[in-house]
Structure formats: C-alpha cells, structure tokens
Amino acid sequence: MRQTTTEKTTHPALIFWIVAGWVGFVLLPWYGVEDFWFMEWLTDGWPLDTDYAPALFLLLQGEKPWLWPVLPALAAPLLVMRRPKTDPLYAQILLAAGGFGFAWLIAQGLGIGIRGWNAGWLEALFGPLGDRQYGMGYGALIVASAFLFLFTQGIAARGAINGDVFVTGAIGGVIAVVTIFVFFPIAKMLLAAFVTEEGGHSVVVFLSKFFDDRIWGLGCLSGARCGVAWNSLFLAVLVGVLSTALGLVFALVLTRSGFRFKRSLRAITVLPIITPPFVIGLAIILLFGLSGTVTTWVADLVGMRPTRWVYGLPGVLIAQLLAFTPIAFLVLIGVVEGVSPSMEEAAQTLRASRWQTFRTVSLPLMRPGLANAFLLGFIESMADFGNPLVLGGNFDVLSTEIFFAIVGAQYDQGRAAILAIVLLAFTLAAFYLQRFWLGRKSYTTVTGKGDAGVHPEMPRGLAIPVYAVAAIWGAFTIVIYGMILYGSVVQLWGVDNTLTFKHYITAFAVRIEDGGIRWTGSAWDSFWTTMMIATVAAPLTAAIGLITAYLLTRQDFAGKRSFEFGTMLSFAIPGTVIGVSYILAFNIPPIEITGTGLILVISFIFRNMPVGVRAGIASMSQLDRSLDESSLTLGANSWQTFRRVILPLLRPAILAALVYSFVRAMTAISAVIFLVSARYDMATSYIIGRVENNDYGLAIAYSTALIFVMLAAVGLLQLMVGRTRIGRRMSHEQGGG
C-alpha cells in the first residue's frame, strides 16, 4: 500500500466509518441488551421490540425523539465521499457532522436518564419529559465511534499532523477513552471533597479539611506521630529509590556480566509480581513477626526478647520492595539492553577505564529508564494498600486511610476524596520532577546504523557489590517463595505442620463422569473468570499503552503534557477510590456496565495502561527518529512505520506491558472489591474471603496455583513476543569475567 495522495477520491477509512455509523444506527440494538452475544435478541422481536430496537426503528415508532438529530449528522458525510481531501468542504463537513454527532450523543446521554431529565434546570427549560432511557448499547457505541473518527478525519484533512489519518484517529481515540474511563469517574469522586455537611459545595470546607493536622502533622519530629501524608511520602521515596536500584542491579547482572544462570535469575526477579495479595505479607510475618522464625532465632542468639520490629515502616518497605522491584527491572532491562555498545566502545577506545565508561556514558544513557522506574515505584508505593494493611502496624499511610474513610466506621467519602487529592498532588510533583531531571537531553542510542558492539562488563569495583546485592535479594526471594509453597501443603501454616494436599483438593478437585469433566473444586468459577478477564485485558492494555507512548514520544499536539499526566491518573489513585468512582460513574446511564465482566476489563486496562506507557516511552526515547523518517520517506505511512519499524524494536516494552497487565489482572484486589459481582467473581476476592475466614491453607494453595499459572503465561508471552535483535554480536558468553 502506498501513502494516500491528496488527489485520490476514494477514502477507505472514511467509507468504513460511514458504513459503521449506519450499521450502528439501523441494525444494532441501540440500548444495552443482556447477554448480547447469545444473540437471542435476534429472534426475540428484533428489530421492532423497543428493548432491542435499533435507533432508526425506535424513531419510526415515535420513541426517543431526542435521537432525531443523529440522522442528519450521519447523512452529511455521505456528501463528501467523492470529493478530494483538498476540497475545504471535505474537512468542514466531516468536522461539523462528526463533532455535532458526538457532542449530541454525549449531551443526550448525560441529560436524560432512568428518571427522565437528569437535572432540574432541563426540566424547567423543556417541561417534563415523560420518557426515560437506560444504558447505551452497541448501536450507540458504534455510532459514537463513527462520529469520533469522522471528526478526526476532518481534522486530518485540515492538515493537522501532516494530514495523517492514523495519528489523528489514534490521538482522538485515546483522548476519548481516557476522558471517559479515567477523568470522568475520578472527577465525579473527587467532587466529594468540596461537599459541605449540608450537601452544598464549598472551597473553604475543602481547605480546612485539606490542611488537617492528621494529614500534615509533624509530630514525629518531637516523638509523637506524623501525619499520613509525610509517612506516605517518605515510604514512597524510599521504595522508589531502592526498587530502582535493585532493578538496575539485576538488569546489570543480566546484561553486563558473565553470570551463568541468567534465565533462572530473570525468573526469580519477576517472580514477586506474580504473587496474589496478602501472601507475601503472611510470609514476611511468619519470618520476621513476633513469633517469626528469624525473629525468634536472632532473639535467642543475642539473648533478647523478640519484638514486633517488622510492623511499620520496615515491614511495608520489605514487602513493597519485593513487589515493585520486578516492575523497575522490567522497565530498566529494555533500556539497559538498548544503550548502544558502540558509544561505550568509543569511550573505551578513547582510553576511558571501565568505571569511567560506566559512570559517564552508560549510566547517563540509562536515565530515561531510571526516571521511569523511580516514578512507577513511587506511585505504586503510594497506591499500594494490601501491604500496609497487613504489615503497617501503627504506621498509617494515605492509601489505607482512604480505604477506611470509605468503608470504615465514619463513612466519610469527603475525607477519602481529600486524601486522594493529597496523594495525587504528590504524584504530580514526582511526575514533574522526573521530567525536570530528564531535561531536554537526547537519549537516542538505537539509530539504525550498523551497531554491532558488545556491552562491556561492569567495572570490578561495581561488580562486587552488585553481585552481593543480587545474591542476597535473590536468595531472600527464593526463601519467601519456598515458604509460600510449603504453606500450601501443610494443615495450618505456623501451627500444624502435617503435610497434606487437602487445600488443593478443596479448591481444584475435578471429576470425570459421563465422558465430560466436572469442575467440582470451589475455586474453579473464579479461576476461569479471572483467566478470561486477564486474557482479554492484557493485549488491550498493552496496545493502548504503547500507542499512547508512541503518540507522546513521536507526535506533537496541544495539551500533550497534561494528557500524559492524565494517563497516569488511574494508576496513581488507590484502587479503592477507582472502584467507588467506577460505581458512581458507570452504574447509571449513559454507560451502565456495573455487574458485568466489561467493567472489570475496563478498570484493568486503564489502571495498568501506565506501565505500558512508561515502558514504551523509556524504550522509544532510545529510538532515533531517523528510523521513522526513513520509513516514511520510503513511502510507508505512519501506521506501517509504527507496526513494521517501531513495534519490533519495542519487544521488551511490549513484553513488560503484557506481562504486567496480565499479572495485575490476576492479582489486583482493591479496585476489584467493588466491581466483582455474583457472576463475575475474581480469584483475589475469593482469596480474601478465605483469609477472612481463617482458611489460610486454602488461600495460599489457590495463590500458589495462580503463581504457577502466571509463570506459565509469562513464559508463553516471552516466547510469543520474542526478543529484540538489534544486530549486535552475541554477548560475551565466552569472554568470562
């Protein structure tokens, strides 16, 4: 396919979306249909039955008259199908029709709900409606998408982004979904911060609550306790710095050393992210708690009474480092591999020592990776809720305070919103700090020119501590996982250590009868739901994340910075807030999806997308723009360039995004608590239920099974995505070191 020239008068993308728009309007049910994909509605009165009727049939029966304006907006683009793009009318009609249609759909959706008009002033203006509407269905969804992409094609035809239909469409699409599924629900939730006791809105109330002593108190400087904000900040900075350092250590061992068992080390490094919640916390308590193995052993050794030292900052720090170092590692490994060996070799040719090379060439080129890894660690720590809950002791942090402001004895959503705003302010600050630190320097190292160098090994002075840290942390990880595995096959962890498989049998029993398999174990339902949702969510998350990263690094458009921060929002807010805000936003029309599997998938996509974005940005800032340019000069369009040139070079980032989103979909808990329903129960909420019921064995057995499933999945993903070959010589396996 060649690049579309401006003289052409056939526009495949345009025709596609016009057709889609009409299909959505004339054929598909306009409102939500239960069990749409069973297709029962086709034989159950469609297209005339008003429950299943497409918009056109509703209108013809005199129903929902507010949908009439959609018709001219759909018809108008037909006029320009035969016109060239250069015709000013082409752009004008698409902009007008697409823009009006999209805006109208949103306005009617927000204006008219299940009780008629949604706002008093609408009723005052137009009189009582006497009609109502439920959640939008697939007809509405497709018509809305059609309007959106007709609009972006209009923008492209005006000459924006060099008239690139793909890029404008992608920008429009990503902005639309992020607005709907990130900004809209969060804004709805945060508004509660301004609500007064009487139900009005006030900035003064907000300020007085915001500067509360319980949030900002500095008592810890004088022996008492500090406000939660300082606790969270201190913890998050520690976790950010240390997890980045640990991630870098492992990345260096894997790329710049003669270490033999790289594969196993890699597996150990990523192991902790594939662990369901509470399990690490439990393992740490059994090791370091008051009656923990290590604590009692050390206490006996030095002749002291065992203490509860692990509860508080130390415990949370250990658990969070275990959990978040793999993320830092996944971000860093791509970047560390991507640093051009030629530059390092050039430095060495110029007589720099290994140490000088590392310090002045390699390390600075890794900055985008370091900055993004820190940012992720910082944000994850801020938003993490499970570990502080189990190990926090009296060390309160924002995320747990937010959770209990919502579900605790005070039912204070306003306070939750305030705390969430504090948390967001920290995240925003960290975000700008990392941008400032990266500055405007270039970190490009993959240029497309022949670059067949080999990474030099680490300088000796660095190698020894790096090896030591990697060995200790690796051993620690193995001990923790050994304990978890052990915990799943004993009667009652820590009390009765008789070996048994009964927990696995309760959870995963299978009976074969009548030639079929009966899944009799109590865990199968939630297991299959979780697998299905994770499998659907992972590729979508990775795709949206990487496309966003591509737009952010390769394209310029107005509002890019705030858009970039916006994509981080849903990640930075604790899951509980997301969960409640999703109910507030999506339990009522126009988008009514609570109680479905869809809401779980969507929440996972937008919660985990930032990892794809960060990994993508870090890797893409290493790719020279001349690669894109040469592809474009040779006649490829931007979609082809993205698919054929950039994507293959991004394999580590793709893998990071896929693995992370798959795994998080299986292990995330806080947002899920509010979004699961009887039909869509998730593994994690099942596990929590068991823990609350003192069924530790069952919970740990289920977690262990999930760990193995996820390990298999990660291996499979690695195989499918493959590794980037940047045309370098094979590394120095024979070099020794």
Binding site: G32, E34, F36, F149, I285, V407, N587, I588, T594
Partner: protein, 338 residues
C-alpha cells in the same frame, strides 16, 4: 480498525445488568461459607435464583450508597448493625414489617424499631477478648478475666484492638466502655488501655487473627471471632469480661428501590425463620440467632453466663454521637504517648 477489535472483544464479555423474574441479588456481609449456605438454602426452599455477592459490611454499605440512584442489590443480609442503622438513617433501605417478627428475640425487634423498621436483627454476638495461651505462658502473664486486667502494666505491648475510626468492632468497644463506666470513666479506661496497646489494626477481626499467629498476646474482638480461631486450630482462649460487656446485632435490610422487591421480602421472611437460621450450624458461625426457635452452636459462648449490658443502639448508632465520640477519642486518646 484497532477500535473495532477492541470493541468486539470487550463486548464479548459484557452481559446486561437488568433483572429477570424469579431472581434475587443478595449482598451478603457475613463470612463466605455462611453466605453460600444462605443463598443455596433459599434457592432450595423457593426455586428463586440467587446471585450472591459477598463483601465486608463497610464495603457493602459503600457500594449501596454509591449505587443509590440505580440500585443493583435487593437484600443486604448480615454484618454488624451500625452500617445498617446508618443506611436506614440515610434512607438507603426500605421499611418492612415481617410476619415472622413474633418469633424473634426482643433485641432483634428493638433493632428494627430503632431504625423505623428499615432493618432487623438476625443474630447477635457479645464483645470480649481472646488470648494466645502459648504466648501468655511464655511471657509468664496471669490469665486476664476482666476489662480492668488488660490495663495492668504487665500487659504493656501485649494488647491489640482495632481503630474505632475504621472498625465497627472497635467502635462497639468504645461505646460499651461509655455505657459500662460512664463517659469520663470510659475515656479514662480507653486511655489506660492505650498505654498497653501494641497496634491499632484497621479491620475489626485482625487483632484475634494476629493473636492466632502469635503476633500479639491479647486481641479485643467479638467473642464469636475468637471462638472461630480456636475451632480453626489456633491456641486461642475466649474470655467474657467479668464487668459485663456490650454486643452487636447482625442485621438485615431490604435495599430501597430493589428491582426484585417481592423476592426480597420472601427472602427476608425466610431468613428470619428457625429453619434458615439453623443453617449457621453447618458453618463455623458462633453467633446467637434471633429466632427464638433456632439453635445456637454448642461451641458458641454461652450467653447465659455473660453479663450483657443494656446496649443503647439508638443513641450510639446515630451518626452524630458516633462523630462526637470518635473525635474525642482521636484528640484525647490516640495522641497520648504509649
């Protein structure tokens, strides 16, 4: 064309949330097993399909509040009474007078009258504490029998209780002390207790779980939670404090605007029957059922041997009194050095 793909695979997962006839959406706030036998038991008794979602009571309350404008649940069964009273106060639940009432204990009906018939008692459980007998022996501590024992200096660093700001259990403790010792005496007690507390947990039953794992010696919790630990195999001894103690009333409410109102009322009546309440015997539930004809588990703490105070649910369940007491606890107790 990416969008098409995205759309198609997303839609494959979606199933509408609308309801059909003969269905019940049950929000259950007791433990998983109990919720399961209640849901299946009702299905067996009536043939009505039950979709059961289990969450903690605080989470269920938050969900019902968030869904207020378009309710998705029909009945909220189980969980401590305060959030039910709060929901009644905010009009989130529906008044209903069941014909089964005459079979209930007076405390269950008192719960209903104090909430304008918007909720009703289904079980009750007394407050108390449990201790880890291994740790108690290892530390050479005397057996605690009374609330006052817990404030003795040798128990310093051995007591765990939840934070009343986040846990209904701990709030019940605070309110119980107000009623046992009067407001001044009660706060004085909380201050002396504070000196011995090693951690204020977030969740109400966490202290006794920590005691089971050997992470604290004493945990102040509802006695049925402590018994559950013993039954699960942990070395926990349950104590009914000698001064007397307060209790919770596990409640049930119909959600205002329930889509399956008839089925909801059917469930409500059924759940108050002795037959339904006896299902608790099949699971590890050690509360006292509200139907006078229902049996109590033989492992459950014997209510006859416990001195129960006349707990004023109306006063201490109201949000104004709660806010006042919690603010006072925050300012006067939690800020003290330990």
């Amino acid at each position: 064309m990416r969008t098409i793909l995205v759309g198609a695979s997303l839609l494959a997962l979606s199933a509408g949330a609308a309801s059909a006839a003969g269905k019940l959406n049950l929000y259950c706030a007791a433990q998983e097993e109990w919720c399961q036998v209640m849901a299946r038991g009702f299905e067996d008794a009536t043939g009505i399909d039950v979709d059961m979602t289990r969450k903690s009571s605080g989470e269920t309350f938050a969900q019902i509040k968030a869904e207020e404008s378009n309710p998705k649940g029909d009945v909220w069964w189980g969980g401590t009474g305060d959030p039910h009273l709060q929901a009644a106060e905010e009009g989130l639940t529906e008044p209903y007078v069941s014909p089964m009432r005459e079979q209930l204990h007076p405390w269950a009906i008192a719960q209903a009258t104090s909430a304008g018939d918007r909720t009703i008692g289904i079980y009750s459980g007394a407050l108390g504490f449990g201790y880890n007998s291994d740790l108690l022996a290892a530390n050479g501590l005397p057996e605690p029998k009374c609330w006052e024992d817990l404030t003795k200096p040798e128990f310093k660093g051995h007591i765990q209780i939840a934070n009343p700001n986040s846990s209904g259990t701990a709030y019940t403790t605070l309110a119980t002390m107000m009623q046992l010792f009067g407001e001044d005496g009660g706060f004085d007690y909380m201050k002396r207790l504070h000196a011995n507390v090693n951690q204020y947990t977030k969740s109400g039953s966490a202290p006794i779980k920590a005691a089971g794992q050997g992470e604290t010696t004493v945990g102040i919790v509802f006695m049925h939670d402590a018994v559950a630990q013993t039954v699960a195999g942990f070395p926990i001894v349950t104590v009914a404090p000698c001064e007397g103690t307060g209790y919770e009333i596990g409640s049930m409410s119909i959600i205002a605007g329930a889509r399956n109102m008839d089925e909801a009322k059917q469930f409500y009546d059924w759940a108050l029957s002795a037959e339904a309440q006896n299902l608790a015997l099949q699971v590890n539930a050690f509360q006292v059922p509200s139907n006078m004809g229902a049996q109590t588990s033989d492992k459950a703490p014997d209510l006859a041997s416990i001195k129960l105070i006349d707990y004023d649910f109306k006063k201490y369940g109201s949000s104004d009194e709660r806010k006042r007491l919690l603010a006072k606890w925050d300012n006067d107790v939690s800020t003290l050095p330990q």
